[in-house]
Symmetry: C2
Amino acid sequence: MNVLLVFAHPEPRSLNGALKDFALQRLRAQGHQVEVSDLYAMGWKAVLDGADFPARDAHAPLDTVGDSLQAYQSGTLTADVLAEHAKLRRADVLILQFPLWWFSLPAILKGWIDRVWACGFAYGVGEHSATHWGDRYGEGTFRGKRAMLMVTAGGWESHYAARGVNGPIDDILFPIQHGMLYYPGFAVLSPFVVYHTSRLDAARFAQTTATLGARLDALASTPPIPFRPQNGGDYTIPALALREDLAAGRSGFGVHVEG
Amino acid sequence: MNVLLVFAHPEPRSLNGALKDFALQRLRAQGHQVEVSDLYAMGWKAVLDGADFPARDAHAPLDTVGDSLQAYQSGTLTADVLAEHAKLRRADVLILQFPLWWFSLPAILKGWIDRVWACGFAYGVGEHSATHWGDRYGEGTFRGKRAMLMVTAGGWESHYAARGVNGPIDDILFPIQHGMLYYPGFAVLSPFVVYHTSRLDAARFAQTTATLGARLDALASTPPIPFRPQNGGDYTIPALALREDLAAGRSGFGVHVEG
């Protein structure tokens, strides 16, 4: 398979750097073609602004949606964004690797999403009708591709448990896994998460890479998180509310996962 | 009161720009002192990297936590970050205003958090013992201050309802409101959210500013979201799991709100 690993840590000589090196070696040993977008090494521009749409009318107010669509359709997005689009089109699997900073993506990786997920490419795709509300949440440009998060967290695993003070890790990652990855069509695998990173000795590192290796070996066969497709009948249109008979009486992120 | 408004939209001639102008006028008319950090106008550096800690040993691996603490304690953080710290210390109320991009902060605002929330300032504060796990989640540097989000979203309100396809807005904002704001001590007011922004005509704009004005007038008196304090007895230490008799049998973000 073709694997694209997007790496968002500023220090190569870090736990994240070591896990990235391990992952690349393992994936290549399995015969995969691997591309890496090392955002810090690339000096990735994090901030979406008017310079992202060089063909736009510079006197008109910036329209972050309309200008993005126009630039995407006319092929005038910037070269750095177009290069990521080409990598994404080649990829069968996308891995986003990052340290969890303030319960979310580091800014440089959020900025990769903000800029690369162009209108017409990752959103604003497909028709809107009485039975179909755009190609998203199970449809879209990335349909047929898989994605997985590789995350490190300073806190303890119990702090991210179902009743831990930080909130459950599945819920913390929902805006990323469901909102940024499933939305444009990826099938999302369960995340690989390393906790309590300040206390990771050689034994735990060996254990961690063993687990990671097994996850990487199973990239093609692991069943994805069964998020509910938007246009398959589970949601009313256009309200996009989950049908009352599904996960009856419940609410929250969890109802958007089948079973 | 002193109000700090952090604004994260690239276009002043936008709905967000108009709402910002309205808010500033209203707050000043009420007699408040208002400071604005207009991140795009300031050219805010979004990406946390080694340059944020100019006194560090440039040959050693970057330690995003340790180098941050050392720079904070020695007063060697960069001037842009120190200026934000001074504004935050003066502020009684912090308002973060942004468009919801991919169910999270725009990268420039995430980078404001990543860089301004230094170790020793916004985290890594207080003692860790058998009864106290750091000054956080209800304690910390910002205790006694209030915070509120002002958010615009393209999607419909029903898409963000309890069973809407995007997930409930309270849960989408939990990593920000609980993880970024309550964690370092802010009392967090309910967010002000505008939905379906592409269809906002003059009548809805008037309605929107009327509601916003009322929210701004009540900044000092609005009861904050009753997030549970970490060190008040609701959580076991050090596991930081919610006590079994509280919100018994439930899990998810909602259990961290009292009542």
